[in-house]
């Protein structure tokens, strides 16, 4: 038995496992997790496109909109600018007095102009683009860091990689692999690669689709500028971060699936560990997947100012290492976890009676 033969075995095992991981009904939930943000971004895109088409038919020149001043009446505004795209009126009781409010919206071909009248006089005038590319990128960064890294990839990898060994124990089929003429380490490598290939394809695919959905409603000029500027580097960084997260979480959950019967324990401990990473001493920070992966994220995520102080502290990324150090650090961490997993798999016994 030589190395090329073992590599062929790894490939065969990975191929057999891949079919199960990709096409089983259980994988449906992983696909859903990976694609859900893209669906929401597509929804946002459709909403923007609909608004754009509605507004485009009722464009008002910038000069007319610039002539509108605070203190103008709604009637004088309508006389100059015509009927607004949106027009809402309501009354609100303020300091024992009924105040009449009216909000009107115009479009100058690029920006929305919101006019707020109180008691029949223009009280405020705000101009904002129909779609803010910069803001969307920040939102995407938030979705990537908070949803993908902390939830989707975390739970997705939990499902995929736990299934590889613990799932087979529960199905009472692991002996099928153990009775093959392959070293346990070969089996581990084959299964890990299968899980990795599946999770990377699903999650980087989901992130890429989400990225595309985020760019879709933006103007051609904005998109072109982004692609000629930091766009490709951003996309590469997001995809690399997603792939590295799969590599890191995958190894941890693969090992946990062999060492522990109940995945709740590693899931809760890891969720907590990753959550409090920012508070940990420097040496312990390095034992976290998020610590490395967040370092690769190109755009800092927005933090909700209204969030409680504790939540803000937990969500604030700890001081990141340089990108190259982060990638190497995560790979080293993964190698360490996989090495301990290979020790565990050698000792693993078939004892289905203990499972249920």
């Amino acid at each position: 038995m030589n190395t090329p033969f073992r590599l062929r075995q790894v490939r065969t095992i990975a191929q057999l496992e891949l079919k199960r991981v990709f096409f089983s009904r259980r994988s449906f939930w992983v696909y859903l997790l990976a694609l859900l943000p893209a669906v929401i971004f597509i929804g946002h895109g459709i909403d923007v496109k609909v608004r754009q088409s509605r507004s485009a038919s009722r464009t008002v020149s910038r000069e007319i909109l610039a002539s509108i001043q605070l203190g103008d009446t709604p009637e004088s505004v309508i006389e100059r600018a015509g009927e607004p795209i949106d027009d809402h009126q309501w009354n609100w009781k303020e300091q024992n007095r009924e105040v009449a409010h009216r909000r009107m919206m115009y479009f100058d071909g690029q920006d929305r102009v919101n006019l707020h009248f109180q008691d029949g006089l223009l009280a405020s005038k705000r101009q904002s683009p129909l779609i803010n590319a910069e803001e969307d990128r920040k939102v995407f960064a938030g979705v990537f860091q908070y949803f993908y890294l902390r939830l989707a990839i975390f739970f997705g990898c939990l499902g995929i990689f736990m299934n590889l060994f613990r799932g087979e124990m529960l199905d009472k089929t692991l002996h099928f692999w153990f009775l093959a003429p392959a070293r346990r380490e070969t089996l581990l490598a084959g299964k890990y690669l299968a899980g990795l290939a599946a999770s990377i394809v699903v999650f980087t695919g989901g992130v890429a689709l989400c990225f595309a959905a985020m760019l879709w409603p933006q103007s051609a000029a904005d998109t072109q500028a982004y692609w000629q500027g930091p766009g490709p580097a951003h996309l590469f960084a997001y995809l690399a971060a997603a792939a590295l997260a799969c590599i890191g979480y995958g190894s941890v959950f693969l090992a946990a699936g062999m060492l522990l019967r109940n995945p709740i324990v590693p899931a809760v401990v890891l969720l907590l560990w990753e959550g409090i990473n920012g508070f940990l001493p420097a040496i312990l920070k390095k034992l976290s997947v998020l610590y490395y992966v967040q370092a690769l994220c190109p755009v800092p995520p927005p933090l909700d100012a209204s969030a409680p102080p504790l939540a803000r502290l937990l969500l604030t990324p700890s001081e990141p290492p340089p990108a190259a150090v982060a990638a190497i650090g995560l790979l080293a961490l993964t190698a360490l976890v996989l090495w301990s997993a290979s020790r565990a798999v050698r000792k693993l016994e078939i004892n289905y009676g203990a499972e249920s």
Partner: protein
């Protein structure tokens, strides 16, 4: 024609009541659950926060201990609806973890080992079975939710006197009802997840994912679409809204009360539907 001696006589003695029979399942489940050391540890950890709250109530009712503090700080020591809301929030998170730990062993092993036909071949209906399983979680979660909550309320009432009780007696009802709704929600989610995946081990992760991922989805919807109705897919957020109403605390702008109640009911109906589809005494070939 052969005439056989009719020797068979069915049991004529007394039978236990229907409720007592239903409780056979929880008793057995509790015994097994409490054999797990980790569960005991979790239960003990879950009582730290009520203990801290009890200390807080003690301090709040001994003005001589904080006489030197300025008005703003001493204002924080007031025991009111917001205090109990904070207590409920923390205990709710611990209840979710407990449910994720204990919930999966309710139905998944019965389905995985094809034991349902054995249950349903006895005088036990599917509804009875589901209720008995939910009673297991209710029994487990009560000591970390409404029981310590009412004890804290009683402690505060005892220390603060009738004036406080007359003003805040509705808090006890709100606290009990609020936790009851939470237990019902957790029990339904746990039972459904447990029945859906059949695997004890994976069901726990699914219960955790259910609450955490839906919270993430809610935030994503709000962030991407620039709306505030995303909270309607976050069951714990809607429960929080309901608690605000029950405890008379100023609620957040979103989600609205009526919408939260409707969405919680819709969620419960979906869970019951999935559960009724999964709880069948049949073996599925896969």
């Amino acid at each position: 024609m052969a005439v056989y001696k009719r020797g068979y006589q069915r049991y004529q003695g007394p039978l236990t009541s229907r409720t007592a029979r239903l409780l056979v399942l929880p008793w057995f489940a509790w015994r097994r659950l409490f054999e797990q050391r980790l569960l005991i540890v979790l239960l003990i950890v879950s009582l730290f926060w009520p203990l801290a709250c009890a200390v807080f109530i003690y301090l709040a009712n001994h003005s001589e201990l904080w006489a030197g503090l300025d008005r703003e700080v001493s204002g924080l020591l007031e025991i009111n609806g917001r205090f109990f809301l904070t207590f409920m929030n923390v205990q709710a998170v611990l209840a979710v973890v407990l449910a994720a730990f204990a919930g999966p062993s309710l139905v998944a092993p019965d389905l995985a080992n094809n034991a349902l036909p054995l249950y349903f071949s006895r005088p036990l209906s599917r509804t009875g079975y589901a209720l008995a399983r939910m009673a297991v979680l209710a029994g487990l979660l009560s000591p970390v939710t409404w029981i310590p909550g009412l004890l804290l309320f009683a402690m505060q009432a005892g220390m603060a006197g009738w004036t406080w009780l007359a003003s805040y007696w509705t808090l006890a009802i709100g606290l009990f009802a609020g936790f009851l709704f939470l237990i019902l929600q957790l029990a339904l989610v746990s039972l459904t997840c447990s029945a859906y995946v059949k695997w004890r081990a994976i069901a726990g992760a699914l219960i955790l994912a259910f609450f955490f991922v839906l919270a993430g989805v809610a935030e994503t919807i709000d962030g991407v679409l620039r709306v505030t109705w995303g909270a309607f897919v976050n069951p714990l957020r809607m429960m929080y809204r309901l608690w605000c109403e029950l405890l008379g605390v100023a609620p957040p702008e979103n989600p609205g009360l009526a919408g939260s109640i409707v969405m919680l009911l819709v969620l419960a109906l979906i869970l019951v539907w999935v559960l009724s589809r999964k709880l069948r005494p049949v073996e599925v070939v896969s």
